[in-house]
Symmetry: C2
Subunit: 151 residues, 2 copies
DNA sequence: TATTGTTATACTCTATAACTATA
DNA sequence: TATAGTTATAGAGTATAACAATA
């Protein structure tokens, strides 16, 4: 892919650096709420309909089930997420995003859109459209892979 | 930028998710060495000539100076990095990557290249070239911004 | 006084393992 | 016996603040 195959010249390295740097920014904006980027990711997964249970979240995000308990606890405490037992299988908790949760997602969506605008300014219209397209496809494949092996 | 401006539809969100996920993969591969992705990042910054002192690293990577001390300590202990006092300004430590450090960077570069190949397979040649171009430009601007305000 | 680096300390995030309950 | 979730515990990673040395 990259013409330079030394570590800093790879797309993988750059994705890692840019992505973790962005995660730091999001973390800073979330700090006052006591939430982390992972809380946000979990909430977004639920809202998008990728997950119905805590187990789904753990697999999709590749985090331990015990962490999901904590994330869900804290999201629930803040009124952003609802847990209720699945009547059909009382081991499961069905998760839904509350109105307040939607608000938070929307608010953070605005922050993300502002970042996108800045990226757009740095890349120009052509390249930034291409970046969007590539990232959307990678994200889609990732979700697809991790959704497999679980109805 | 993105046609969908909800959080999960933004480039910023996807960069964050894909980047931190990749960082986890790198962390797993580094585990046996006792190093983290940040150690690797610091080493790469030094090797690329972006930084000459610990202070530079802290600013470029946006981490605390005290963390840089620990990173440098551990890299030095493993013979990957050398610290020597700057004779011209004895407060500073001039950092250089050792041969062993270059080897590690090269090894992790191969891992990154393998990831790039997989990304390429998922995106196809056209899109993956465009992703490379966009990421390279974003990374360049980032380094440029953070190098400013410090000769 | 300002810069560079260090130490001491404490806190946040996360995983592992053992457990409960349901199936 | 297997699955979904929970609790208890411990460890890794990081920042803050106080400090030392040099300029």
């Amino acid at each position: 892919m990259a013409t330079d195959s030394s570590l800093p010249g790879t797309a993988a390295f750059r994705l890692m650096v840019l992505g973790t740097d962005l995660a730091n920014d999001f973390a800073a904006h979330l700090r006052e709420t006591g939430l982390t980027p992972k809380h946000l990711g979990a909430l977004a997964m639920v809202e998008q309909g990728f997950t119905r249970t805590q187990d789904d979240i753990a697999r999709l995000m590749r985090v331990s089930p015990s962490l999901v308990v904590r994330l869900a606890d804290q999201l629930e405490q803040r009124g952003l997420l609802e847990r209720r037992r699945d009547p059909a299988n009382r081991r499961k908790h069905l998760l839904t995003v509350t109105g307040k949760g939607e608000s938070l997602l929307s608010e953070m969506g605005s922050l993300a859109a502002a970042v996108d605008a800045e990226l757009g300014a740095r890349l120009g219209g052509r390249l930034s459209g291409q970046l969007d397209e590539a990232l959307a496809q990678l994200m889609g494949k990732l979700m697809e892979d991790r959704s497999r092996k679980s109805p």
